[in-house]
Structures are given as structure tokens and as C-alpha cells.
């Protein structure tokens, strides 16, 4: 119970004089002492059972809630990791494809460049000679 306080303006307004105030203070001490003694006594068996049942239920509920939140957090973390893994795999595959595409275009460009660098137009006066050279090569 709360500690007793002095009577305030409201009480004086209500007509609590010295005599009534003294009686009320004694009454309060009386009820508080009696109440303390009452709930200092061991509780009857039925009440103890009821209380322990409530406490047990409270604990069980708290444990269920705690276990639920922990497993939820673990599942969430696992799920996030899986998603991250899939995303990383996809990104790697995409990168590989990009690299392959780049490589093939690079090769084609290079070949075209080499081709253009190496090949020269033969002057028309030399054409019969070039023809002869290509014929002898085929033979």
C-alpha cells in the first residue's frame, strides 16, 4: 500500500478537522496493518494453485513468444541469405554472358581490322601477275 500522506486542501474543504483527521489517520494505519498481516499469511491451497497456474501460463506464453521471435528472426536471416545467394549467382551469370558477348565482338573486330590492314588493292596493271600467283599457289 502507499505511504500515507498529509491531508490536503481538498480534505480541509471537505471539513476534515483535527479530530476527524486524527481518526482517519488511525483508521488508515489500522487498515494498512491489517491488510499487511492478511497478505503476509500463507495463501490457501486453492489460491496457491490458481496463482501458480497463472504464473506458469505467463511463463509458458513468454517462452512461446520468445521462441517464436527467435525462430522467426533465424528464418528471416536464412531467407535473406538464400535471396542474396541467388542474386549473386544471377549477377555472376549475367557478367559471364556479357564477357562472352564482348569477347566475340572483339574477335570479329580484330579480324576485320587485320584483314583490312593486310589486304591491299592490286593495281590493275599487275592483275595478270596476281592471277598467275594465285594459280601457282593452288597448284
Amino acid at each position: 500500500m502507499k505511504m500515507s500522506r498529509d491531508f490536503d486542501n481538498d480534505d480541509r474543504e471537505l471539513g476534515v478537522d483535527a479530530q476527524v483527521g486524527e481518526a482517519l489517520k488511525n483508521f488508515r494505519s489500522n487498515v494498512q496493518a491489517w491488510g499487511e498481516a492478511e497478505y503476509g499469511c500463507p495463501r490457501p491451497a486453492r489460491t496457491v494453485r490458481a496463482m501458480s497456474w497463472r504464473v506458469a501460463t505467463g511463463w509458458a506464453l513468454s517462452c512461446v513468444v520468445a521462441a517464436g521471435s527467435v525462430s522467426g528472426a533465424v528464418y528471416q536471416r536464412h531467407h535473406q541469405r538464400e535471396l542474396q545467394k541467388i542474386a549473386a549467382e544471377q549477377a555472376a551469370r549475367q557478367q559471364k554472358l556479357e564477357a562472352a558477348r564482348h569477347a566475340s565482338t572483339d574477335d570479329e573486330d580484330l579480324l576485320a581490322k587485320v584483314d583490312s590492314d593486310v589486304s591491299r588493292e592490286v593495281p590493275s596493271a599487275m592483275e595478270p601477275l596476281a592471277q598467275l600467283m594465285s594459280d601457282s599457289e593452288t597448284e
Binding site: 483508521f27 496493518a33 513468444v65
Partner: protein
């Protein structure tokens, strides 16, 4: 984990509230034996005579409390035993502060009359 702590604190509060309520339930369901009730007084530094006087006063207040209507008794006990403010009592009982004051005034009138009746 803060909310888990909150649950634990609330369970503990409920436990103590229930124990306190048991006392009031006991006094409500069983008629109060005034002689037994007035015996519960902390002796403190009082003389035997002062102790007797206090016991007598407490007996008169209990007698007056028994004569109060249920609402007057509730308001009176909340104010003078549980130390609640008028606004708190109004909130708890769903009455206006003015009505709470009126009930308290009537209850105090009966207590005063009972105390004067002994003289």
C-alpha cells in the same frame, strides 16, 4: 527484448494487485468483526492510553463505514485508505469530481457524527 521485459513487469504488477485485491474482497464478502479490525494498530511510540483512544476511534470509523452506501464506502476507502487523488477516484469510478466530493462529504459527515456520538 524490451517488450518481453514489459510483459514480465506487468505480470509482477498483476500479482501484487491481486494480493491487495484479496484483502478488499475478504472485507467485502465477510462482515468485519469490529473488535478484531480495531486491534490492528501499529503501537509506535504511543502510550497505552493513546493506544486505547486510537482503537476506540478506529472502531467508530469502522462503524460509520459499515453504514455508508456502497458508493460512498468505495469513494471513502479509495480516498482515506488508498490515498487516491479526487481526479483518480473520479476516473476509477466513472463519476465526476463533483459527485466524488459530494459522496466524500456525506461519508465524512457520517464519520464525524459517529465520532461525536461517542462523546
Amino acid at each position: 527484448m524490451t517488450w518481453l521485459m514489459r510483459i514480465a513487469i506487468n505480470l509482477e504488477k498483476d500479482h501484487w494487485r491481486n494480493r491487495r485485491m484479496q484483502f478488499w474482497r475478504h472485507t467485502r464478502t465477510n462482515s468485519v468483526d469490529l473488535d478484531e479490525a480495531s486491534d490492528w494498530l501499529p503501537s509506535g511510540e504511543r502510550t497505552a492510553e493513546q493506544q486505547m483512544l486510537a482503537k476506540e476511534q478506529v472502531g467508530h470509523v469502522w462503524k460509520a463505514v459499515e453504514k455508508l452506501s456502497a458508493r460512498q464506502r468505495t469513494v471513502f476507502l479509495l480516498r482515506y485508505v488508498e490515498d487516491q487523488e479526487l481526479s483518480e477516484i473520479a476516473q476509477m469510478t466513472g463519476l465526476s469530481e463533483g459527485t466524488v466530493k459530494a459522496h466524500l462529504s456525506r461519508a465524512l459527515g457520517k464519520v464525524r457524527a459517529q465520532l461525536k456520538g461517542r462523546q
